[in-house]
C-alpha cells in the first residue's frame, strides 16, 4: 500500500530539485532572508521587528510561490511527458499516485523551508543580539524568539502544504494558468477569512444574502491567517504547543479533504 506511494514521492522529490525555476525562487528567497538585516536599518528602533517581519514573511511568501508553481505542474507534467502511462500501467492506483505526488512535493517544500529557516536563523543569531541590546526593554521578547521562530516556521510549513494540496487539486481540474490563478486567489482570499466572518455579522448591518454568502465563504475557505504568528512573536507572546497542535490539526484536516477531492477528480481523469 505505502511502497508505491513512497516510490512515486521519492521520484517526485528528485524531479523537483531539477527544476531551475524552483531553485531560482529558493535562491532568491535565501538572498532576501540573508539581507533582511540591511532592511532592518530602514526603521530605526524597530530593527528586531523588521528582521522578523521580512525573514518570516519571505519564508511564507516564497514557500507559497514554490508550492503554487510546483503543485500545479506535478501531475500535468507527468501527463504531458507521458511518464504517467508506464506508472499507471503498473499496480499503482490513482489514489496512490496522487498521494505520492503530493508527498514528494511536500517533502520538497519541507527541505526548501528548512533551508530558508536555516538562513533566517543564521541572520537572526548574528544580528538580533545587537538589535536587542540597543533596546533592553525588549529583552524578554527576544528571549522567547528562538523557539517562537521555530514554531512559526513549522506553522508556515503546514500552511504551505495546504497551498500545495490546493494547487495539486486545481491542476487536475483546470489548465495550468487557471490553476495558478485559482490557487493564488484561494490563498489571498483565505488570508482574509476572518474579515468575511466580520462582514457577515448581522450586527454590522449585513443583509440576509451577504450573511449567507460571506458565512459560506468563511466556512469553506481555508483560514490561512491562523498559521501566521508573527504578531505574537513580536509581542513576546508564548504560543503554546496546544494551540500549535490545534492549528496543525486544522490544516491537516483541511488537507485531507482537499486531497480526497483531488483523488475523486483524478480517478475520473483520462490520461
Amino acid at each position: 500500500m505505502m511502497r508505491p506511494i513512497l516510490r512515486v514521492a521519492r521520484a517526485t522529490f528528485h524531479e523537483a530539485w531539477r527544476r531551475r525555476f524552483l531553485n531560482g525562487i529558493l535562491l532568491f528567497a535565501i538572498l532576501i532572508i540573508g539581507s533582511s538585516w540591511v532592511f532592518a536599518y530602514l526603521q530605526p528602533g524597530a530593527e528586531l521587528q523588521m528582521i522578523i517581519d521580512i525573514g518570516l514573511g519571505a519564508i511564507r511568501f516564497f514557500g507559497m510561490l514554490i508550492a503554487v508553481f510546483m503543485g500545479t505542474r506535478l501531475i500535468p507534467d507527468e501527463i504531458e511527458r507521458r511518464t504517467i502511462h508506464t506508472i499507471l500501467a503498473k499496480p499503482v492506483s490513482r489514489a496512490q499516485f496522487v498521494f505520492g505526488k503530493f508527498l514528494g512535493g511536500a517533502a520538497t517544500i519541507a527541505v526548501n523551508l528548512a533551508l530558508m529557516g536555516i538562513a533566517f536563523y543564521i541572520v537572526f543569531a548574528i544580528k538580533a543580539p545587537e538589535f536587542a541590546a540597543a533596546k533592553p526593554e525588549d529583552a524578554f521578547i527576544f528571549a522567547a524568539m528562538y523557539s517562537n521562530i521555530a514554531k512559526a516556521i513549522v506553522l508556515a510549513l503546514f500552511e504551505i502544504w495546504l497551498v500545495l494540496g490546493i494547487a495539486v487539486v486545481a491542476s487536475t481540474l483546470f489548465s495550468w494558468v487557471l490553476s495558478v490563478i485559482f490557487t493564488f486567489v484561494i490563498y489571498f482570499v483565505g488570508q482574509m477569512s476572518d474579515f468575511f466572518q466580520q462582514l457577515s455579522d448581522p450586527g454590522r448591518g449585513a443583509s440576509q444574502i451577504a450573511q449567507v454568502l460571506l458565512g459560506a465563504l468563511y466556512r469553506v475557505l481555508p483560514h490561512f491567517e491562523i498559521f501566521d504568528i508573527r504578531e505574537a512573536i513580536l509581542q513576546g507572546t508564548y504560543t503554546p504547543w496546544g494551540t500549535m497542535l490545534q492549528t496543525m490539526g486544522q490544516g491537516a484536516a483541511y488537507l485531507v479533504v482537499v486531497l480526497l477531492i483531488g483523488y475523486l477528480v483524478f480517478n475520473e481523469r483520462e490520461v
Partner: protein, 323 residues
Amino acid sequence: MKRPGKLARVARRCFAISLAIKTENLSKIYSQDATGRPVGLIDLSLEVEEGQIFGLLGPNGSGKTTTLKLLLGLIFPTRGSGQIFGLPLGSNATKERIGFLPEGPYFYEHLNGIELLSFYGTLFGMGGSRLAARIEELLHLVGMWDRRFIHVREYSRGMRQRIGAAQAMINDPDLLFLDELTSGLDPIGAMEMHELIMELRDRGKTIFLCSHLLKDMEPLCDRVSILNQGEMCQSGAVEDLLRVEDQYRLLISNCSDELTQQLQTSAQHTEAVGNHFAAYYADQSGALAAAQEASAAGAVIEQLGAHHRTLEEVFIEAVGGEE
C-alpha cells in the same frame, strides 16, 4: 521458430481455450466528424488467446493507441467492456500480470538504467536480491548492461526503447503490450527484439503488438486485427489472411507487347509490378505453360509459384488504399 501449426490450433480449439484479452463492443467516442460519424474507437470486439502474438494494425489515427489505453485502464470506455485474464481492465490485479512499452517511451530523466528498473520493480513490491537479480538479467537481455549507469537524459532513442522493453518485463508479465516495439532501433536491434518476442512466446507469454511496420509484424504475429477509422475491418490468423486459394503467379521481365497480349488472354488477370509483369493462373499447369511461352518469347522468368499476399497487401486492401 515457427508459428503453432494446424495441429496446435486444433488442439487449442478442442481443449479449453484461455483468453488473455476479451473485449465486447469496446468503444471510445471522442467526437463526431462533419458527416456525423463518431471519431474514436467503435465497437471493438477482440479475443486474444493466451500464448499468442497478436498484432493490432492500422494507419495513424485508426484507434490503436486508444485501444491500448482502454485495455490498460488509462482511459475509460464510452460503452462496451473488456477483460484481461478474466479480470476488469485497469484493476491492480490485472496490472500485476501485464507489462507495457509505450511508443517513444518517456521516463524520469534523472534516473540511470538500474535506478529506473528499480523504480518500476518496487511498484510491483519487488525488492532486495530478487529485484537486483531481475534487473541484471533484463539489462543483459536488452543489451543495456554495459550502459547501466548512463542517465536516461543521455539515452538515444534506441536505448530508450531497450530500457522501455526491460521495464515492461520487470514483473515477468504474462501479457505484454508493446506499442511500436522496434521504433528507433537499428536493424540489428530490431532483429534482437524480434528474437526476444519469439522467446517470450515460447515461454508461454502473450504478446499484444501495435504497429504500422507491417513487414515486422508479418513474421511475428499469429493473429492480426486491422483497424481503420476506429473500426475493425479485418481480423484473423496471419496464415489465413495471406493465403490466396488456388492462385499461381508468373512474374516476368523483358516482356514484349505481343507476349503481354498473349498472357492477358490466357491468365485470370495480369498486372504491372514495378518493372515486371505478373500474370495469375488458377492452376499450376496453366502457369507452367505460360512460363514456357514467355521463355520462348525471350522474357526472363523472375518468379513462378503459388501466390501468397503480403500483410501489406492485406492491409491496403482492408483500409481501402488510404495508406
